[in-house]
C-alpha cells in the first residue's frame, strides 16, 4: 500500500473500534478489549510502517522536512476553491507518531490488567463506581476478598479508543483545522474518562473542571485559527508556514496587528493560550491534578501519551508563526512563552515536593515538565522541545502506569486487611514495596531516574540537558537558572517518591500485603522502560565528549520541519550547562535519598519540618484553587444568582409568557369569530349536504340490472327527443 494511503487509514481502527464496542460488543468484556487492543495494534502497525518508511525514505529524515509524505483532497467547497484537508508526515509528526503509537498500545494492554479482567464480579459493585472487591470461597472453605472486575469495562475501552482516534487525527493532519478537530475529540474524551467513575462526586467535579478549563483555552485557540484563516486564506501547514505568508503576517499592516504586536504575534499568542489550557500551563493548570480522579491508564493517556503532548505538539507545530520576525532576539510571543513555561516549571515542581498522593506528585511533575518544553520553545530551542516531548511521553507514561501498578498492589493489601480507611494512593501508607513488587520497582526506578535526568543513561538527561544547553548558549540566563532549580526540585521529589514508596519498611499492614500485578500490567512497564532509557540515545549531541557520535543524532533531523531560513545549528558543546545538569540531577537525587533514607512510620514528613509554614502553602497548591473559587467561581455564581430572578425569570420568562398570553387570546378570538362559524360551518354544510343527498338518492341503486337499463332507455329516448327538437329549431 502506498504510504500516503496508509497514513489516511492510520487513525481509523480506533474509531471503528469505538463504534463496534458501543453498538455491538458492549455486553462482552473479552470481545470489547479484543476489539480495542486489536484496533490499537493495527494503528501501531500502520504507524510503525509509516515511521520507518518516512525515516528510511529516499530523502531520509533530514530530507523529509522538504519532501514530507503529503496527500490532500478538497473537503469544503468555498466559493472559488475549496478547503483542503489532508495528511502530512514530516519529521516532527513522524517523531510524535512514534511515541503516540507505542504509548497508546501499551496503555491499552495495561488497562486489561488494571481493570481486573478475569476477576469475579463484585457483589456490591455498581456502574460508575470503582470496583469494591469480590468475596470468593476457596476449596478449604476460607473466604477471601479479591479484586473485582470493573463494572463498566467495555465502556472504558470504547472511550479510550475514541481518545486514541483523536490523537492520531491530530498527529497526521496537514492543517490546523483537522488538528483542532482531533484536539476537541480528545477534550470530550478526557471529560468522559476523568468522569469515568461518575457516581463519585469528586470525579464528576474534576471532569467538569477539566472540560471548562480547557474550554477557555480552546475558545482563544479558535479565535486564533479564525484570525489566521482570514489573514492567510488557508490553514494548511504548507501554506501558512511558507516564507511569503509569514512575511505578510509580520510586515503587512493590512492583515492587522494589535498593541504593537504583529498579526503573527497575535495569532501565535491566541493559539498558545489553547496550549496553556490543553497542556496545563499556569494559570490554567488547575484541572490537571484533579484529573487524577480518573482511572490510572486514563491519567497516563491524558497526561503523558496524548492530550497534554498534543498541546506542546501544536505549539511546536506553529513555531514558525511564533518565531516569525525574530531577527532581533525573541518575538513578544516567544518571550511570553519562555516566561510562562519557566515559571510553570518551577511553580509546579515546588508544589510536587509537598504532595503525598502518588499520582498527584506525577501530575505536578507533568505540569512542570511541560513547562520545560514550553520554555525551551520560548527561547527558540525547537529541537530540544520536540526531544523532551518524546522522552517525556515515554518516561511519564511509564511512571503513571507504574504508579497505577503500585496503587493496584496496595488495593490488594487493602482488600486483604479489609481496612478501607487506608488510602491506597497515599505514599505515607506505603514503604518497602521494593520486595513485594520487584518489576514495578525496577521500572518505576528507571522512569523516575529518567524524569530526574540521571546522567548519561536515561533519556530525560539528554533532553533536559539539551534544553539547558540551548538556554545557556543563547544567553537566556534567567530561564536557564529557573529551569535548573526546577530540575533540582524534580530530582528531589522523584527521589522522595521512590524512597517513600519502595524503600524502608512497610508502614502499614496493607503495604505488607501488597502484591505484584499481573503480566498485562508489568509487560507494558518493561517495554516502556526500555524506551525511557533508549529514546535519549537518539539525541546525543554530536560534539559531546566520548559519547557524542556513537549513535547518530537522529533528533536534530526534526529541525528540518521548519522553513529553511529558521533552521539553526545545534549550539556548540559547553561544559557549564553540562555541569549544571549533572549537579541538579545527582544533587537532587542525593538530597532526596539523604532526607528520606531513615523515614519511619508516623514521623512527620522531613520536608514539612524543613519548610514549616511554606509546606502548608505548597500542600494547598498556593491556594490557587481557593483563589479561583473565591473570584471566578463566586463571581459567576453571584451573576447567576442575580440574573436568575431578574433576568431569566423576570425579563426572558416574562417576555416569553407575554408572547404566550397574547398568542393565546388571539387564538381564542379567531376560534370564536372565524374558525367555528366560517370554516367549520362551511365544512359541515358540505358534508351534511352530501350525506343528505346520498340518503335521498340511494333508493335508485337497487342492484337490479334491468331496472338500470330501463332508466338508461328512458334517458336516451328523452335526450333523443330533446336533440331532435333542438335540431328542428
Amino acid at each position: 500500500m502506498a504510504t500516503e494511503q496508509l497514513i489516511w487509514l492510520l487513525p481509523l481502527p480506533p474509531l471503528v473500534s469505538f463504534f463496534l464496542i458501543v453498538l455491538l460488543a458492549n455486553r462482552n468484556k473479552a470481545l470489547s478489549h479484543t476489539i480495542g487492543i486489536g484496533a490499537a495494534f493495527l494503528s501501531w502497525l500502520a504507524g510503525m510502517v509509516v515511521f520507518f518508511r518516512a525515516v528510511t525514505g529516499e530523502h531520509g529524515l533530514h530530507g523529509l522536512g522538504e519532501h514530507p509524505l503529503h496527500s490532500a483532497m478538497d473537503w469544503l467547497p468555498l466559493g472559488d476553491g475549496a478547503f483542503q484537508i489532508g495528511v502530512n508526515i514530516d519529521p516532527l509528526s513522524a517523531l510524535t507518531l512514534f511515541f503516540v503509537c507505542w504509548t497508546v498500545l501499551m496503555i491499552f494492554i495495561y488497562s486489561v490488567g488494571y481493570h481486573n479482567f478475569g476477576q469475579p464480579e463484585g457483589e456490591h459493585d455498581q456502574k460508575g463506581l470503582p470496583p469494591h472487591g469480590a468475596t470468593v470461597t476457596d476449596e478449604h472453605g476460607h473466604q477471601h476478598t479479591v479484586l473485582s472486575v470493573e463494572p463498566n469495562y467495555s465502556r472504558f475501552f470504547a472511550f479510550i479508543s475514541l481518545f486514541a482516534f483523536g490523537m492520531f487525527v491530530l498527529v497526521v493532519s496537514d492543517n490546523l483545522l483537522t488538528l483542532f478537530v482531533g484536539w476537541e475529540i480528545m477534550g470530550l474524551c478526557s471529560y468522559l474518562l476523568i468522569g469515568f467513575w461518575f457516581a463519585k462526586p469528586s470525579a464528576r467535579a474534576a471532569a467538569i473542571k477539566a472540560f471548562m478549563t480547557t474550554r477557555i483555552g480552546d475558545v482563544f485557540m479558535l479565535l486564533g485559527l479564525a484570525y489566521l484563516y482570514s489573514a492567510a486564506g488557508s490553514l494548511s501547514y504548507s501554506v501558512i508556514f511558507s516564507p511569503e505568508v509569514l512575511d505578510r503576517l509580520v510586515h503587512d499592516a493590512a492583515v492587522g496587528g494589535f498593541l504593537g504586536l504583529s498579526a503573527a504575534g497575535l495569532i501565535g499568542l491566541l493559539l498558545f493560550i489553547g496550549t496553556v489550557g490543553k497542556s496545563a500551563q499556569f494559570p490554567l493548570h488547575v484541572w490537571l491534578p484533579d484529573a487524577m480522579e480518573g482511572p490510572t491508564p486514563v491519567s497516563a493517556m491524558i497526561h503523558a501519551a496524548t492530550m497534554v503532548s498534543a498541546g506542546v505538539y501544536m505549539v511546536i507545530r506553529i513555531f514558525p508563526i511564533l518565531a516569525a520576525g525574530a531577527e532581533h532576539g525573541l518575538t513578544p510571543a516567544m518571550t511570553v512563552m519562555a516566561f510562562i513555561g519557566a515559571f510553570t516549571a518551577l511553580f509546579a515542581a515546588t508544589i510536587a515536593v509537598a504532595q503525598n498522593d502518588i499520582k498527584r506528585v506525577l501530575a505536578y511533575s507533568t505540569i512542570s515538565q511541560l513547562g520545560f518544553m514550553i520554555a525551551a520553545l520560548g527561547i527558540g530551542a525547537y529541537v530540544a522541545a520536540a526531544f523532551h516531548l518524546l522522552t517525556h511521553a515515554f518516561f511519564k507514561a511509564l511512571l503513571f502506569l507504574g504508579s497505577g501498578s503500585v496503587i493496584h498492589g496496595m488495593e490488594h493489601g487493602v482488600l486483604h486487611t479489609g481496612n478501607h480507611d487506608v488510602d491506597p494512593q497515599d505514599m505515607m501508607n506505603m514503604g518497602g514495596l521494593r520486595k513485594k513488587m520487584p518489576v514495578t520497582f525496577w521500572t518505576f526506578l528507571i522512569g523516575g531516574f529518567a524524569l530526574s535526568g540521571f546522567p548519561f543513561i536515561t533519556a530525560g538527561f539528554w533532553s533536559k540537558d539539551e534544553i539547558l544547553a540551548d538556554a545557556w548558549a543563547h544567553g537566556h540566563t534567567a530561564v536557564f537558572w529557573t529551569l535548573a532549580i526546577a530540575a533540582l526540585l524534580t530530582a528531589f521529589y522523584t527521589m522522595r517518591q521512590i524512597m517513600l514508596t519502595f524503600f524502608g519498611e512497610p508502614r502499614t499492614k496493607e503495604a505488607e500485603h501488597a502484591h505484584e500485578t499481573p503480566w498485562t500490567m508489568t509487560a507494558p512497564l518493561v517495554i516502556l522502560s526500555v524506551f525511557a532509557v533508549a529514546a535519549g540515545w537518539a539525541g546525543i549531541p554530536e560534539d559531546f565528549p566520548i559519547l557524542g557520535g556513537l549513535v547518530a543524532n537522529f533528533i536534530h533531523g526534526v529541525s528540518a520541519t521548519l522553513p529553511a531560513a529558521m533552521i539553526e545549528k545545534a549550539p556548540a558543546f559547553n561544559v557549564i550547562p553540562l555541569i549544571a545538569s549533572l549537579v541538579v540531577a545527582l544533587g537532587g537525587l542525593f538530597l532526596g535519598w539523604l532526607v528520606y533514607r531513615k523515614y519511619k512510620a508516623g514521623a512527620t514528613d522531613p520536608v514539612k519540618k524543613m519548610l514549616g509554614g511554606l509546606h502548608t502553602v505548597l500542600q494547598n497548591k498556593y491556594y490557587l484553587d481557593e483563589l479561583y473559587q473565591a473570584t471566578f467561581v463566586r463571581l459567576f455564581n453571584w451573576i447567576s444568582e442575580v440574573f436568575t430572578p431578574a433576568m431569566d425569570r423576570g425579563v426572558i420568562d416574562g417576555f416569553l409568557h407575554g408572547i404566550a398570553r397574547v398568542a393565546f387570546s388571539l387564538g381564542g378570538i379567531f376560534r370564536d369569530r372565524f374558525e367555528t362559524p366560517v370554516i367549520t360551518g362551511a365544512a359541515d354544510l358540505l358534508g351534511n349536504g352530501v350525506k343528505g343527498f346520498g340518503r335521498e338518492f340511494r333508493g335508485i341503486q337497487s342492484g337490479r340490472i334491468q331496472q338500470y337499463m330501463n332508466v338508461v332507455l328512458v334517458i336516451v329516448v328523452v335526450l333523443a327527443v330533446f336533440i331532435y327538437i333542438l335540431a328542428q329549431v
Binding site: 342492484g703 337490479r704 337499463m709 330501463n710
Partner: protein, 102 residues
C-alpha cells in the same frame, strides 16, 4: 335495387326486438340472447352502409367480422358467468341477483 332505408328499418326492428328481450326477460340466458340480437342489428347497419356508401374499401366487412368475433367471446364469458352464478345461488333469474345494492 332495394333502397338503403329498408335495411335500416330491418335493423331497427331487430334492435328493438333485442332491446325488448334484454329489458323484459327474466332469464339471464335470454338476456344474453337479446344482446346478441342487438349486436347483429348493428352488423346489418354496418354492412348496409358499407355497401351503399363505400363499396370499394373492405373496412366495413372487416369491422363486421371483428364485431362477430368480439360478440362470440362475450357470449362465452357471459355464459360462463351465468353457469358460475347458477352453481352458487341455484338461480339464473336476473331479478334475484341484486348483490350490488345500497
Amino acid at each position: 335495387m332495394i333502397p338503403l332505408s329498408w335495411y335500416l328499418i330491418l335493423a331497427a326492428a331487430l334492435f328493438s326486438l333485442g332491446l325488448f328481450g334484454v329489458l323484459s326477460r327474466k332469464n339471464a340466458v335470454a338476456i344474453l340472447m337479446g344482446v346478441e340480437l342487438m349486436l347483429n342489428a348493428v352488423n346489418i347497419n354496418l354492412v348496409a352502409f358499407w355497401r351503399y356508401s363505400a363499396p370499394e374499401v373492405i373496412a366495413g366487412q372487416v369491422f363486421t367480422i371483428i364485431v362477430f368475433a368480439v360478440s362470440a367471446a362475450e357470449v362465452a364469458v357471459g355464459l360462463a358467468l351465468v353457469i358460475s352464478l347458477y352453481r352458487r345461488r341455484q338461480t339464473v333469474i336476473a331479478e334475484n341477483i341484486d348483490l350490488l345494492r345500497w
